[in-house]
Amino acid sequence: MRGLFLASACVCVLAVFFISAFLFVNGLPFFAKYSALDFITGTEWAPLRDVFGILPMIVGSFYVTFIALLIGAPIGVFTAILLACFAPKPVVKVMKPAVALLAGIPSVVYGFFGLMVLVPLSRTLFGGTGKSVLVASVLLSIMVLPTIIQTSEAAIRAVPQSYYEGSLALGATHESSVFRAVVPAARSGIISGIVLGLGRAIGETMAIIMVAGNNPRMPGNILSGVRTLTVNVLMEMGYAADVHLESLIATGVVLFVIVMAINFLFSFITRKRIAQ
């Protein structure tokens, strides 16, 4: 039995190995035909002419994610503080399942909502097609809220009661004890929540493909359309053949590497927290 348990636990390791192996084995032949440097730094994407530059999509992914976190992180962290420190019990009782529900809503429903509500709204307000970095980011910022709220709230609740009590004993009010003693102590937990949110945002596909415009060129201002790495893979997968298909797998490899890097960043922060 022990062996069976051990084997089951090792399935995770195997899965990661196979996923990397399949992606790299199928993606790397592309780089034999096309220079990796041109692939990553090229600004033109015209697969039918064999020009594959994914810099616009790399920039697009980070652009959308950055704006999403700019909106989502403060809202998420403040909501977490509210839940952990200020909200009366009945409010917490309503809000916690609500946040869990927000996490459970399928991304295709988010995308559909964005397409039917946010896109026309943005078009009425700002003109153009309505599909833009802004709409994609706003939608994503809602989608990353639960990740940020849940992780941050747990981190804040994990701060020893003595921090809070000590601060109160020094004459601080409830509010200032929370903001000057408790929240700073939960700092690294909150940051790792935001990093997790970053991972979710950068990997999101279905919601973005419906609202971002998907233009394969360098994104401009916040109201211009944008294509992310994830969208690039999904959008053309149905049509791709030969080198074009390999270029999409290679796009997947780049995305995979970015997500892995974020993961390492996350575990680095977590380890630092444990060390503290």
Binding site: S8, A9, V13, F78, P97, P106, V108, A172, M210, V233
Partner: protein
């Protein structure tokens, strides 16, 4: 900030006055409430909008046994979702639970292997679904020649939900008090017997919660399924292609004639998620009462 407060070098007169401190904190507190309000209203807006536009279009004909372009039935998608969920969980739950047992009961904490399993589980949880889509297509559909089928989709999703079950099992097992194990050992029971008979039962609820979350995740997954289990509109057996509810929603959304029907499908999807969430928070409530 805490460091500054402790620093003796800081001249006393630069410490903000108590009044300003209070005002600042109050503003921050107000921001907290504002943020909470934004969070809640975005949820309410999405849910209410989808329900309001979808419920009027839930017609009995949408649950007809056979799909055709006139009735736009979603019954096949509902059944495919159930098959898909069952099949994926059949792989991920046993493996995840047994793996969790290994991590919690057998492994030396902090050993190299355990660290590696943790890191890879975290990695799996963080991989975007579009990468799973590529992997599923390359590995199951093409290399293992399963074709575009429910089976290919379910295997892909099984790997996706594995870390969820694994981590939750481990955590639930670890929260079982040490005294249970000691008591059992004291009575002469072996390691395996203790684990399965004494430690596992009180952890079942926690594991169940992770299963419910997985169900939510599977029924909501779209990107990973379009190219692994496909978009065929029929009640599919394991070796054949069939669309799940969320894939159905995506396809309808692309078919401009079916916007109303798409909203109706979104309602059903939302209901599934709401029910799964309610059940799992009910379980969580039970758990916390116990603890």
């Amino acid at each position: 900030m805490t460091n500054q407060a402790l620093s003796p070098a800081r001249p006393v007169h630069q410490v903000p006055t108590r009044h300003r401190l209070r005002l600042g904190s109050r503003i921050l507190k107000a921001l907290c409430w504002l943020a909470g309000l934004i969070t809640m209203s975005s949820l309410v807006l999405i849910v209410v909008y989808v329900l309001a536009r979808g419920i009027p279009h839930l017609k009995p004909s949408m649950f007809a046994v056979k799909y055709n372009s006139r009735n736009v039935s979603m019954l096949h998608a509902i059944i495919n979702t159930i098959t898909m969920t069952g099949l994926a969980l059949m792989f991920s739950v046993p493996v995840g639970v047994m793996g969790g047992i290994y991590l919690a009961e057998y492994a030396k904490p902090g050993s190299r292997l355990v660290r590696m399993i943790r890191v890879t589980a975290e990695t799996l949880a963080g991989i975007p679904s579009i990468v799973y889509a590529l992997f599923g297509q390359l590995a199951f559909v093409i290399t293992l020649k399963m074709g575009i089928s429910i089976l290919s989709g379910a295997l892909t999703l099984a790997i996706m939900t594995l870390p969820l079950v694994l981590r939750q099992t481990e955590e639930s097992l670890l929260s079982v008090p040490m005294s249970y194990r000691e008591g059992s050992f004291g009575l002469g029971a072996g390691k395996l017997r203790t684990t399965l008979r004494i430690v596992l039962p009180p952890a079942t609820l926690g594991i169940l919660a992770s299963v419910l979350l997985s169900i939510g995740r599977i029924s909501g997954e779209t990107a990973a399924l379009i190219y692994t289990s496909g978009t065929a509109t029929r009640i599919a057996s394991l070796g054949k292609s069939g669309r799940t509810l969320s894939v159905h929603l995506y396809q309808l959304q692309q078919e401009s004639r079916y916007t109303d029907e798409a909203f109706a499908v979104a309602v059903v999807l939302l209901l599934i998620v709401i029910i799964m969430n309610a059940l799992s928070s009910f379980i969580a409530g039970k758990l916390s009462k116990k603890g």
